[in-house]
């Protein structure tokens, strides 16, 4: 009896130890990735770029956080204390595009997510590993769903208040206001301050329409990052589906996909992008994303196909087939997760590439016309003939692209078992 109890206790202890020592594939890769300091810090750089994109209105907006207007100044109904910044974030007078409203929403939801994430991380030691993973998955899914619902509601709501010119209003000495650091909007034309040199009010000067270039670059972070991420998401999806089908099912599916890839490779991608762009009269950034997404999938498809072919022959997949698991389960639980590593690496480089393509398109004057994308700022700067206006957006592109490339390099090395120490 005693023996059995001891054995049971030993078994439980061994299991607990095994669980404590357990390292998932993700953990191994992550540990490996941290060994490349340049890539590791670049990843934080990318995170910071994202934070800057989200917090752009905190730094620069032509609406005050707080305004106290005495009686008799401005419109009659304006007297009193206001917090106009918070409503302006979702006001169509200040932000027209859904993209901006989405990022503005993130100002509020991102800290919330961050706190929940921290709590989850804290509880990692107390929870069982499996429970922790379930909770994490649930949190990611629910937060994504919740934010999409909130965004859809806000966007479709089309909120619009009567326009108030806060800058002029704050000129009155009896009005007390507290503005963001820069009092500019990225799109309001100001003909009284055209092509100014950089100084303490306009950090990078102004362009031909008198818009503050620093503000535009700040908001351009949103455009460039979104274009990069969404375009790559589109083509990764296409590539994974097509490549997966070809690799797993083989035979005629493989034939068809391979022929298609072969044909697509022959097109100079940029020509194809230009052609597709030629059919759209007034492209929004979403058109550009779609065009880049539709033309860039061949690399991913080949990669995924090769991975599927390789994995299909491996013992664990053969075992899964022998166990009689459904095809869906084999593909999504056994093959796909193992094939996604290289896809992730390729996608990281892809985001950098997509940002460059968008910048080139905008540079040629074929990008989204109104959005303050970096390429567009650069073209506009070129027309003014000032080096600062070329250098600033160009360096912004350069920094983003090199950070992403460094992350990609690190991820590639981390995934390579040959380099693992």
């Amino acid at each position: 009896m005693e023996d059995i109890k001891q054995a049971e206790a030993a078994r439980i202890a061994a299991r607990a130890k095994a669980e404590a020592d357990f390292k998932s594939y993700g953990d191994i890769i992550w540990n490996q990735f941290q060994k490349y300091p340049l890539s590791y810090y670049s990843m934080y750089g990318v995170v910071w770029l994202f934070v800057i994109a989200v917090l752009a209105p905190v730094l620069a907006l032509n609406v005050p956080f707080y305004a106290n207007i005495p009686e008799g100044v401005g419109a009659a109904n304006l007297a009193g204390i206001h917090f106009p910044w918070f409503t302006a974030l979702f006001d169509r007078n200040f932000f027209e595009s859904g993209l901006d409203i989405f990022f503005n929403m993130l100002i509020f939801t991102l800290p919330l997510n961050f706190v929940i994430w921290l709590v989850l991380k804290k509880s990692k030691g107390e929870l069982k590993r499996r429970d922790f993973v379930t909770m994490r998955t649930r949190f990611v899914l629910w937060s994504a769903l919740g934010q999409s619902i909130v965004f859809t509601l806000v966007y479709l709501g089309g909120f619009r208040e009567p326009y108030v010119d806060w800058i002029t209003l704050s000129g009155d000495s009896s009005v007390s206001t507290f503005f963001p650091l820069l009092k500019y909007s990225y799109r309001d034309v100001d003909l009284s301050s055209v092509i100014l040199d950089p100084d303490f009010t306009h950090w990078l000067g102004t362009d031909r329409e008198g818009r503050d270039v620093f503000t535009r670059i700040l908001y351009g972070t949103r455009i460039s990052l979104t274009i990069g991420v969404v375009a790559v998401a589109i083509y990764t999806t296409i590539g994974v589906i097509l490549g997966g089908l070809a690799g797993y099912f083989g035979k005629w599916v493989d034939m068809v996909v391979l022929r298609l890839v072969e044909v697509m490779i022959c097109f100079p991608t940029f020509f194809l992008i230009l052609t597709l762009r030629g059919f759209i009269d007034d492209p929004s950034i979403f058109h550009i994303m779609l065009i880049i997404g539709l033309t860039g999938w061949t690399g991913i498809a080949r990669l995924v196909r090769a991975e599927f072919l390789r994995l299909k022959r491996q013992d664990f997949v053969q075992a899964a087939i022998a166990l009689g698991l459904t095809e869906r389960r084999i593909i999504f639980r056994h093959v796909m997760p193992n094939a996604l590593g290289p896809v992730f690496v390729s996608a990281t480089f892809g985001v950098a590439g997509a940002i460059l393509i968008e910048a080139s398109l905008s540079f040629l004057g074929l990008g989204p016309a109104t959005a303050p994308s970096w390429g567009q700022i650069l073209t506009a700067g070129r027309e003014t003939g000032k080096d600062v206006l070329i250098l600033a957006p160009g360096l912004a592109i350069f920094v983003t692209v090199i950070l992403l490339n460094l992350v990609g390099e690190g991820a590639r090395d981390a995934l390579d078992p040959k380099l693992r120490k």
């Binding site: 100079p268 230009l274 052609t275 059919f279 759209i280 009269d281 650069l378 070329i390 160009g394 692209v401």
Partner: protein, 508 residues
Amino acid sequence: MATYILKRIMLMFPTLFLISVIIFLVLNLAPGKPTSSSVSTEGTQDSKSTEARESYRIFKEQFNFDKPVMFNTRFMLTRADVFEELRVLGDFARPTCTAANTPENCLPADEKPKSGRVISAQDVIEDWGTYVVPHLIDIARTDARIDIRKLAVNRLAVNAKRRLLNEYGKNQTDEQRAYNREVGAENEMVSNWTATDEVTLPEMEALMAEKWTPWFESHKDRWDWDFGDKASMMFFDTRFAKYWGNLARFDFGVSHIDKRPVLDKIMERLPYTLTLNFLAIFFAYLFSIPIGVWSAYRQNSPADRVVTALLLALYSLPSFFVGLLLLNWFADGDPFGYFPTGGFAGQLPAWWGETPASTDEMTTIEYLVSASYHLLLPVFCMTYGGIASLSRYARTGLLDTIRADFIRTARAKGLSETMVIIKHAVRNGMIPVLTLLGTMLPALIGGSVVIEYVFNIPGMGLFMFESIFARDYNAIMGVLLISTVLTLFGLLASDISYAIVDPRISFD
């Protein structure tokens, strides 16, 4: 070897076929037609726009936009189909009833067709062309509504026109010319048999009886189709068939900017782009292989790390940005004016001597000097990215071979280190780099758009860019096709060179 090359060339044909299908689909099914949108939105019933309407119709005819995309089923159209479209046009012209005022023949506002529907109705009837002439005659003779009959007659004056042979081609034969003269005369005659707005019923009857009915009766056999005719219409009177017919004759059509053949225009520009690309590829290989070998040889040394980081930085620099800065700093004369600001050739460096007035007056040497003077900056912009990526591949290639047994053997038999690296390691390690040649070409051709735009070099990229702006359908198609053919040959070249260099590849 010859069999291998032949096999590869034979394999190019199905690929080329698929490529042309894709180009066709992209150009035809993309949202928005490559037509000048200003024309298509005009042209409702408005009589002022008759001329614009006609030029739009000719434009559509010229570029086969009046044809259905894949299958032509227009011989199956019935009188009801034609009447429906005419009714839309007729209803649109009728006055609107209001509570206060109900003019004769008025229509309630909610029953009036939408303007988008009217424009499409007009396009649809126009595109149906001669196929619906019998139905139009029928409607014009017997319909109950006078306004519809009037519309039908006016439609007839356009739709009864036949197409000329080889109208936009360069050289017509005498036979074609004679036929065209005859058809032209008939078209001219037919186009005058129209009805005015205030036409009365008897006038209408008279016009039909005197002009249209006799004409139709005498040419009735034109609409007498048997099964063979219908089958050939179904498959051959389509945009796809016309496109293929033209491609088979290497006819990419004429550019609609200056009506010159697209092929000629492309061939004029191709040398510039090819020169640029070959120079870029040449220099990229020239510099990247030594750099790659050097950094692989000193793997993980501080020098290797620095070079790797520098190359990554170079790789991340957008070429248009570098091009612009170089142009601003070294060509504009502010602060330096070392280089010309653009173009392919024309200026000579100051230390060389006097620049002739035009490139025609230059000697060959002078032309070469001038071209290299002009191309230094653009080629640099196209090269540095290639150097960065190629040297990475060269580095990994060498790292893979340097640990191989045959290298150890070479060292063991006492060869000098240089000999080991250059003769044994580099030769084997560079094989994967060589295969990149084929994949580099499309990227470079695509990338040359930006460089040609910045440095104003009249190559294919700039031509593509201009055609996109002008929506020059035929030019876009031509450039896409030619560039893919170039790429195919690039891939072929790299496969062949791979087969030559690597003895493990068999030629069967």
